[in-house]
Amino acid sequence: MLLNEASSAAPVFGLAPLLVFLPLFGLLINLIFGKRMREGLVGLVASLAVGLTFVLALVFAATLAGNPEPASMRFLEWIRIGTLDVNWTFRIDTLSVTMMLVVSGVGTLIHIYAIGYMHEDVRHNDDPGRFRRFFVYLNLFIAAMMILISADNYLMLFVGWEGVGLCSYLLIGFWFEKGKDGIANAQAAKKAFVVNRVGDFGLLMALFLMFRYFGSLDFNVIFEKAPEIAAATPGVLLAMALFMLLGVTGKSAQIPLYVWLPDAMAGPTPVSALIHAATMVTAGVYLVVRSTPVFIEAPVAQAAVMWVGAATAFFAATIALGQSDIKKVLAYSTVSQLGFMVAAAGMGAGVAAMFHLVTHAFFKALLFLGAGSVILGMEHGAEHGKHGAHGGGHHDFDPQDMGNMGGLRARMPLTFWVYLLGALALAGIAPLAGFFSKDEILLAAQHENTGVFILLIVAAFFTAFYMGRQLLLIFFGKPRSDAAKAAVESKPVVTSPLVVLAVLSVLGGALNLPGVFTLEHWLEHSLEHVAPGEFSLATAGLSLAVALTGLFLAYLVYGRKFADKPQKDPLSGNLVYSGMEKKWLVDELYDLVIVRPYRGLADFLSNPVDLGIINNLSAGLAWLMQATGDVLRRAQNGFVRSYALVVFIGVALILAFILIQ
């Protein structure tokens, strides 16, 4: 464990490996002793592990505030083969510390929330023993994410990348035997993993190209040499950037690889909040922002990133409009907001992207956790409604269907208020956090490309509309089912993180207020090409107006007409709405074009080729051995005379041999 200081950095940075090892210790304690620990203790250990990581990140932030130069801590020598020299090195600079604060901070809140949520959930699903496993996986995820964001070279980043992919799989498929037909959750997890793999392939190709042309995978080396390689072989750099984009579309759920994220809602709500809203999906954005020196040299790739992001933002927002499952709306909303971030990163507005990443983490986590609180309340209501006749598991009644909700404002007031704040922040209403961050992105888009700007503005409009729709369907009007009538507010251990996140959503804008631009100055030391921040009243006013219009329209459509029974969406009945509801049939398209032919190929290779040819080859070999044995067996017939004959034949042969000599 050699801690070398690569630059004259503060000694406290020597604690950097703890970022990864604190969650790992928590994980190990829970793994080894968890069976004998009470649930509360398990949750406490896990949350403490992440909490201490957050404290550590704060310490780093404070140190960097005084001296903002980046620092590298070499922890382990890992690979040294030929010219490949990759070490486990920690990079502490303002960009990575920003990510660390978000991941560990939001992560701690979600861990605390999960204590209460999972307590209910494992009882609802009839398996109290699985509580511990959840926290083991969560801590593993935090550890992997920390590896990703603190990496100083692309290979360590990839290790973390894969690690969070694995944890995503484990956590989505946490209730692997539940779900439709007893298999849907496992299939969702598999889908996430496989689709991510396609993205990982892209990232891996980029890594190979980097090693081939740069000779190293270290950030410093690559960022320094990028301009000269670009001058020499521009195509290579373009290919590199485009491959990285493929990886980003996988991990950050952009077109065409976003299809796993809505299915990932099969996991428990804290998972959706932590991984699929706040942290893992932002890894792609982080990658692009970190690799800005590379992307800058390939303007075509930058444009590609921008367009992919903008298209995704628009596309996903349309789908979110037609969803009736509370978590699916939020899932598509996440995809859409990630599109915003990716577009911003593609435009070179790294600060705007990071700003939106942070604020989005706050209010999207808040929204997911709030949705979890709502779902818990609905499940309680359902069980009360049946007067205690509850088994675990499947109800025909779906506690997540917004059509079954309504009027929950009265029954779950705290959840309502925090959810409202989160929704308004997402919609971009001033002076909440989302307004500032989204506005910066729109401003950058306006300067960059009008088409992108229009797409993003329309996406912002839709965002406001569907959030208003969601608010009205869930909290306003009259309860539309027995469960909604009997819904109960959640326990403090569930609601207190919500409050904290709500405060952050409100105040988060302070990170990068126009004029002060704190975040920008902070990130300047990590990113070299930071465009100076500006504030345009016209754009701000436009985005605010768009958001308010969206909310108002939602009120018009959904606010007044709902009765106390589930009924069809007022907008339904036309083709456009059907398309939105059915996610524009993208999954079906993929199934037809990719999955089925692949299955067919696998079937072909399995049956005629593997079973037929290869199997028979080895079976034939066995038969051959057996037949040979059968033939040779005849020599052992038990007749003394034939044995004697053989002996004498041998003698004769030897004599003849000697004679010939």
Binding site: N637, R641, A644
Partner: protein, 102 residues
């Protein structure tokens, strides 16, 4: 009188030996097989004596003496075994001494 070329004796010995082997391989009666074995011993003895005569050494005759003694001992044991086998199998046909199946 002509003298006997020594090779003739050796050829005779060889022929008797060959006949002995033939008997061992071809006869079914265990006792006759045994007797052919004795024939083979005899052929060897004859060769020994011939060589003793050629090289003028008496040691070879001593060897023959020992061979005879050991052969006698062997016959004693062998016949006792025959008797035993006969008690078990009620036959001394060596083809009947096959207990293997298949």
């Amino acid at each position: 009188m002509q003298n006997v070329p020594a090779e003739y004796c050796l050829i005779l010995s060889g022929v008797m030996f060959a006949l002995g082997i033939l008997g061992v391989l071809l006869r079914r009666n265990a006792l006759v097989v045994f007797m052919c074995l004795e024939l083979m011993f005899n052929a060897a003895n004859l060769a020994f004596i011939t060589f003793a005569r050629i090289y003028g050494s008496v040691s070879a005759q001593v060897v023959v003496f020992f061979v005879m003694t050991v052969a006698a001992a062997e016959v004693a044991i062998g016949l006792a075994l025959m008797v035993e086998i006969f008690r078990n199998k009620r036959s001394i046909d060596i083809d009947q001494l096959n207990s293997m199946q298949g």
